[in-house]
Amino acid sequence: MTGMTAQMIFLAFFGGAAVWFGIVVFRTHSMVRSAIALLFSQTAVGLMFLLMQAEFLGVLQIMMMATEMSVMAVFMVMFMMDPGGMGAMEMTHQKRLSLWAGGVGLVAALAVIWLADWGPVVPNIPGAAQQAADLGRELLGRSMLIFESAGLTILTAMVAATMVAIAPTKERRK
């Protein structure tokens, strides 16, 4: 019971940290600080996975977010007028629309949480190695099409963004 309570306290703590760093993303006036805050927010979500004994997902989330936020920084350097991220800039745009979108998103998320049928609590959590094996079978089975489509879409977006970032020129480097 004590273990359960400690787990709940830490879960709430990291949940709060994730939300707080999410707010910091828009409160700061620096692109780099914003990116780092987003990273910490996502890392806190990864720690929540670990607390819920989803070892593979937790470690993966913590790893991927460090690299993803850094790749985001690469695009930031490519596109922004402030390449080094040293200058200050406003992190919020289209405020009225953003507020409405955020509000509707929040209500929708809360509705899903309250109204969805989550089923009974799993009594025996499979071991970490078993979870990884189960996840592998899921990804290469039923969910393969969804993940492959998502992966291909992201890759296409990245290639397109890189091509847009390259200034059109006829001179060849070699």
């Binding site: 780099v32 690299t67 190695a129």
Partner: protein, 238 residues
Amino acid sequence: MLLLVAGVLAAAVIPLAPGLIVTDLAMGALFLNAALAYVLVALIMAGWGPNGAYGMIGGWRFLGQFIAYAMLIVMPITAVVMRAESLSTVDIVTSQAALWNIAYQPLGFALFVVAAMGLARLPPLDLPTAPGDLAGGIEAEYTGVRLAVLRLARMLVILALAGATVTFYLGGWLGPWLPAPVWSGLKIVLVAGLMVGAGRLMPRVREARYLELSWKLGVPLALTNIFLVGVIALVVTI
């Protein structure tokens, strides 16, 4: 400080002998990757933090270098994990009892060591902290205790990477006559020494060139390595 934490966490899943490991996670190999990913975050922050041009350029240079080495750290590990059929570092060592991975997948070993040198900013891949080019790059604005912590953390990362190389490719603690921890220690010191020493004999590699080599040559080679290991694992039982 984050760099120091990343190094310590990465070293925590390196087994020195059966039972002699800080924590034997079922996701050890993945955890090692996760810890090493924060080396990048730490160095970008260290470069950007002092608000100086040299440090900032050094930090972003390291990010460019990361794009080059990242896949070549992960993909060879994938092949190692395929053979061991486990992400646990202890299982990875025991899977090499009959034949070390350096002989089983030499291509993966070569790619991993070069990528590890990129991660540790070792010559010839040390442009983010190059003394002659950026006055120290990421380290340019630091002095005293802060510089000492930065350098200590780098040494720790080098040792963790040498430990990872030994665990993944050189049979970890396995070896005749000597006790297991001695074998681990000897191998780690040897690999760390080679990584630190070998690159000093070569000219520095520009990031653009490193990126080009990594993606046009390294990634196809790493995919070939995964394919070969898959075929061998299916056909032969070693």
